[in-house]
């Protein structure tokens, strides 16, 4: 019984109530919207390059940045460059903006789903010439 009472005391003394003064101030959601949009744009670019490379042999050849890796080198390098550039540009433009997260999330989801579709073999192989 003594042990239980001791534990109850410890629980009460260690519990700190979060007061309003300790709650961190709100931050604008623009920077998060920027990185989400950039991720969606990067995913979409990857899907687009993958599908275009399947549809056009000339485009596929242009994506070969390294002969050992083949067209995958260009698809991934360019999609990553697009992701990073989009992030930098959007971060600069949206840095102090707020209230963007809902619309940015919708665009992010649409672009990412399109990117996933573009990298799905059954989809992109349907664009291969007969």
């Amino acid at each position: 019984m003594d042990v239980n009472a001791e534990r109850a005391d410890i629980a009460v003394t260690e519990r700190e109530i979060v007061t309003s003064g300790e709650v961190p101030t709100a931050v604008p959601d623009g920077p998060l919207a920027a990185v989400l949009l950039a991720a969606g744009i990067g995913a979409f670019a990857l899907g687009l390059f993958t599908t275009l490379a399947e549809a056009s042999a000339a485009f596929r050849e242009r994506l070969v940045l390294n002969s050992a890796v083949g067209p995958l080198s260009g698809k991934t390098v360019w999609a990553t460059v697009i992701f990073l550039v989009a992030w930098a540009v959007l971060a600069a433009r949206l840095r102090d903006r707020d209230g963007l997260l809902r619309s940015a999330t919708t665009i992010f989801v649409v672009l990412t789903v399109l990117g996933l579709l573009g990298t799905f073999p059954i989809f992109f192989q349907a664009f291969a010439p007969e």
């Binding site: 260690e14 519990r15 700190e16 979060v18 300790e22 709650v23 961190p24 101030t25 709100a26 931050v27 959601d29 920077p31 998060l32 990185v35 989400l36 950039a38 991720a39 990067g42 995913a43 990857l46 899907g47 993958t50 390294n66 050992a68 890796v69 083949g70 995958l72 080198s73 698809k75 991934t76 999609a79 990553t80 992701f83 997260l101 999330t105 990412t112 990117g115 996933l116 990298t119 799905f120 073999p121 059954i122 192989q125």
Partner: protein, 177 residues
């Protein structure tokens, strides 16, 4: 009992980084789920945020390292073309799979999906890591942002999981020797 250079890199790419990725995901997901002010003290929130930052940043870094080593180190060994007239194709996984009607789909579907979809994981994981670090302790008081980041985090893991699963299955069908 020796590992070749190729086997060692395959191990680092698949199991070493894969295990780290899983650990970081577990820590990050638990952090996101439990980051609720009604469940935590002020000290608890600080501790959770530190763990969440580590989990999400490690997962993003590991995701980048995994796709970079996979694409630029391991993949060239997978797709290397055999010299003209070679009939023993075991050392050339892509050609070996394509030469066997029963195994060809491991390349046409499995590898084609894996090599592309894997690159979406670092984009998503980077967005989550940035969000967690940017919001910091404020994240505990922004349930909508916390839920959004948690779902993007899960999506990053699912995408990497597809790539990892096919990587393991393809390696079983045609290992890189």
């Amino acid at each position: 009992m020796q590992l070749t250079n190729r086997e060692l890199w395959t191990l680092i790419h698949g199991m070493g980084l894969g295990a780290l990725f899983l650990l970081a995901f577990g820590g990050g997901l638990a952090g996101f789920y439990s980051l609720r002010p009604e469940w935590l003290t002020t000290a608890g929130i600080r501790e959770r945020i530190a763990r969440l930052d580590v989990g999400t940043v490690v997962m993003a870094v590991v995701a980048w390292l995994t796709v970079i080593t996979g694409t630029w180190i391991v993949y060239p060994w997978y797709r290397a073309a055999p010299p003209e007239g070679t009939t023993e194709l075991e050392a050339y996984p892509r050609s070996y799979l394509l030469a066997n009607e029963n195994l060809a789909d491991w390349h046409h579907f499995g590898m084609e999906w894996k090599e592309h979809i894997a690159w979406i994981a670092p984009y998503l994981a980077t967005a989550v890591a940035f969000g967690a670090v940017y919001y910091g302790r404020r994240l505990a008081y922004e349930p909508a942002v916390r839920r959004l980041l948690m779902w993007v985090f899960i999506a990053a893991f699912a995408v990497a999981g597809i790539a990892g699963l096919f990587g393991a299955l393809i390696t079983k069908a045609a290992p890189i020797l």
